[in-house]
């Protein structure tokens, strides 16, 4: 029976859902926290563009931005942002085997393999970017 007909049964008891229902259970609060990491993905994207523009303007502009980034408050903020983005990465990669189920012929690729494959890709991307920026 379609839920839109529920109001026509006035003797049924319907519990009101509080706005902050997700504060009542730890797993729900963690879920909302996980979803809010996207806000920091957007922040990081903006900052990346700002940094690229500073690089483009020249060494002086770049150095100025690096100085600002190096101030203790800003460093602390970005360490927090890094932790939040790591939370995003780890929760995202851990859920990959749930969505990606592949069959090779008759056999299913084990979930562990999908998981390890994703983590390996993450390590590879991290290494690649680090190499590009530091040791090249």
């Amino acid at each position: 029976m379609n839920p839109k007909y529920r109001p026509y049964y006035p003797r049924w008891y319907r519990k009101r859902i509080p706005i902050f229902w997700w504060l009542q259970k730890r797993s729900h609060a963690a879920f909302i926290g996980r979803e809010l990491t996207a806000v920091f993905v957007a922040y990081a994207a903006i900052m990346l563009v700002v940094l690229v523009l500073a690089m483009d303007r020249g060494q002086a502009a770049f150095a100025e931005m690096m100085d600002w980034l190096g101030t203790p408050a800003v460093v602390a903020a970005h360490v927090l942002v890094l932790c939040i983005l790591l939370f995003h990465t780890i929760t995202w990669l851990n859920l990959a085997p749930m969505a990606i189920v592949v069959k090779l012929g008759d056999r299913k690729v084990p979930a562990a393999a999908v998981l390890i494959g994703h983590y390996a890709a993450w390590v590879a991307c991290t290494g690649g970017v680090a190499w590009l920026l530091i040791w090249r």
Partner: protein, 116 residues
Amino acid sequence: MRRSREPIIWALFGGGGMASAFFMPVLILVLFIAMPLGWVQGAPFAELQALVRHPLTRLGLFVFISLCWFHWAHRFRYTLYDGLQLSHLNELVAVITYGIAIAGTVVGAVLLWGVG
């Protein structure tokens, strides 16, 4: 009944989630923490600038930034529905979140085009 067009934005959300999961931590760690604090020297400035100005880098960055914006938009839209129970404002929330994502993408495109 017509099938929802959600797959398009879900694909963008998924791509953005995967891309940001793989690349954001190292970018933040190196560019916003390690280099400013002097933990790593980094490549010489001239090389970094040349790297950033390279058309492939700018294209890659544009795609990456744009995916990140749509990842944020889609996720934030559903967080507003679930967390603040705003799903009755469905059209408004969708227009605002994806509108911001489109704006961010366009601004990013314009700025990156002007680099170099």
